[in-house]
C-alpha cells in the first residue's frame, strides 16, 4: 500500500475500532443520558471511519471501498492503535480510553485541518468539531468520577492505569508518518505529545487525580501487531460479510 493510503487507513481504523467498542454500550450504559452520548460518539466515529477508509481505498487504487476495507481484512492488516481496541471494562475504563484518545485525536485534527492535502484537511475540519465535544465530555466524566465518591475515584484510577501503557503509541512516528508530512497530509505527532500531556494533566488536576506511573509504551498496532482482543472484535463485526460472501446489504 502507498504511504498516503496507509496514513488514511490508520486514521480510519482508529475511528472504526473505537466506534465499534463504544457501540457495545448501547442499551447498557449507567444512565439513559450516558447511553445517548456514547452512541453519539460512536456515530461520529463510524462517520470518520467511513470518510478515511474511503479515502484510503481511493488512494490505494485497487477498487476497495470503505466497506471492503472494514469487513474484509484480518487482524494483521488492521492499523489502528492498541488503545482503541481495548475492551470497555467498566464505565471508568471506557472513559479513560475515551479521554486519552479524544484529546489526542482533537490535537491531531486541529493541525490536520490546515494541511495542504485538501482531502485530509476536509475530513479533519469536520471531525475536529466532533472531537472537541468527545474530549470535553470525557474530561467532564474524569472529573466527576475522580471527585465523586471513594469508589468512583478508585475505579477511575484503575481505568486510567489500565489504558496508560497504550498512550505512547499515539505519538510514535515512523516512515509512514514522515511520508505523510512530506506529502502535505500528515502531522508531527511527536510534537503533540507535550501538548497532550498538558491538556490531560490539567483535567486530572481538576479531578484530583495523579497521572498514572510511567509505563514502557506498548506498540505494534500500526503494523498489525495487536492485542488478543482485536480478533474477537472483528469476527463479530465482519460476521455477515464473511458468512454471505458477495451479498449486498
Amino acid at each position: 500500500m502507498h504511504a498516503l493510503a496507509t496514513h488514511a487507513l490508520r486514521l480510519g481504523d482508529d475511528a472504526l475500532i473505537l466506534g465499534q467498542r463504544l457501540s457495545e454500550w448501547c442499551g447498557h450504559a449507567p444512565a439513559l443520558e450516558i447511553d445517548l452520548s456514547l452512541a453519539n460518539i460512536a456515530l461520529d466515529c463510524v462517520g470518520q471511519a467511513t470518510h478515511f477508509l474511503a479515502l484510503a481505498g481511493a488512494l490505494e487504487g485497487q477498487g476497495r471501498d470503505a466497506d471492503r476495507l472494514a469487513f474484509h481484512r484480518d487482524v494483521m492488516d488492521f492499523t489502528n492503535c492498541l488503545l482503541v481496541e481495548q475492551p470497555n471494562g467498566d464505565f471508568a475504563q471506557t472513559i479513560a480510553r475515551q479521554f486519552f484518545f479524544a484529546h489526542y485525536q482533537h490535537l491531531l485534527f486541529e493541525r490536520m485541518q490546515a494541511v495542504q492535502d485538501e482531502r485530509f484537511a476536509a475530513i479533519a475540519a469536520k471531525a475536529v468539531k466532533e472531537t472537541a465535544y468527545h474530549a470535553k465530555l470525557a474530561g467532564e466524566w474524569v472529573i466527576r468520577l475522580g471527585d465523586g465518591t471513594e469508589e468512583s475515584r478508585a475505579r477511575m484510577e484503575r481505568g486510567l492505569d489500565w489504558m496508560w501503557r497504550f498512550t505512547g503509541e499515539l505519538f510514535a512516528m515512523d516512515e509512514i508518518d514522515s511520508a505523510a508530512i512530506d506529502a502535505g497530509a500528515g502531522v508531527d505527532k511527536a510534537a503533540l505529545h507535550p501538548l497532550w500531556d498538558a491538556r490531560i494533566g490539567a483535567v486530572l488536576a481538576e479531578a484530583g487525580l495523579a497521572p498514572p506511573a510511567p509505563h514502557r509504551p506498548v506498540l505494534g498496532g500500526r503494523i498489525g501487531r495487536h492485542s488478543e482482543h482485536l480478533g474477537h472484535l472483528i469476527s463479530d463485526m465482519q460476521f455477515l460479510q464473511r458468512a454471505y460472501p458477495g451479498a449486498t446489504w
Partner: protein
Amino acid sequence: MMNSLSRKDWMPEAYRKTLVRQMSQHAHSEIVGMLPEGNWITRAPNLRRKAILLAKVQDEGGHGLYLYAAAETLGTSRDEMIEALHSGKAKYSTIFNYPTLTWADIGAIGWLVDGAAIMNQVPLQRTSYGPYARAMVRICKEESFHQRQGYEIMMHLAAGAAEQKRMAQDALNRWWQPSLMMFGPPDDQSPNTEQSMRWRIKRDTNDALRQKFVDITVPQAEAIGLTVPDPELKWNEARGSYDFGAVDWEEFKAVVKGQGPVAKERMAARVKAWEEGAWVRDAARAHAAKRAAAKQAAE
C-alpha cells in the same frame, strides 16, 4: 369534556394515574426496545447500515427520555418509574420480548414494529394531556423515518440472494403475530379502552387500529415479494379491508405476564445495567453536591 390539559390544570386522580401508567409504559418500551436492536449494531453488515442503526437506537433512547420527562410533570420521578419496571410492576410493549436472530429482524422491527407504533401513536398527537401530545409529535416524525428505513432493509434482502430472501421471509414469519398483538387485546377484552377514550387519552379502539395496520402492511409485503404468514388472510371486497386469522391471545396473555421468549433476558439486561451503573450515578450526584456546596461557600 376536556380539551388540552397542561400539568397545572386540576385533573381527576384516576386520569392522572392512567396517564402516568400509559406514558411510563411507553417510555419503558422505548428503553427495553433498545436491546433487541442494539444486539445487531456491532454486527451490522456495512458502515452505512451500522450508522443508520446506531442513530435509530439513539432516537429510541431519546424518545424514552422525552417520555420520562413528560411523565415526570405529573409528579412521578424517573427513578420511581424505573424501579417499577425492574420490579415487574410496570409493563412495556410485549413485542420486545422476542429475540432478534438475524439481520432481517432489524428490517422487520423497523417496518412492522415502528409501523405499528406509529399507528398507535399518531392519534396521541392530539391526546388531551399537552406534554404527552407534544412529545408524541416529535416521536412520530422519527418513527415514520424508522419505518421507512426498516422497510428498505427488507426490500433489499427480499431482492437479494436466495438466502437473504429466506432470512427476510423468516423474520416476517416470526414478527407478524407479535406485531398484531402490539395493538392490545381485542376490544371486547380491553378493560381500559372505554374510559381512556372518554378521557381522550386514547382515540381509536385496538381492533380498529389492528385492522388499519393489516390493510396498510399486506400490500407492502406483496410489493417486495414476501408472504404474510396467515392462511386466512383474504381481501374482503364488501368491507374494503382484509380479513385475517385469529391472533394467539393465549400467547399474548403469557407475554404480558412476563413469560415472553426472552423476557427474562431483557429484564436481566436492564437490571444489570442499572445496578452496575449505580456507582456512576452516585458519583455524579456526589460531585454535583460538592460543586454546589463550594459555589455556595464562595458566595
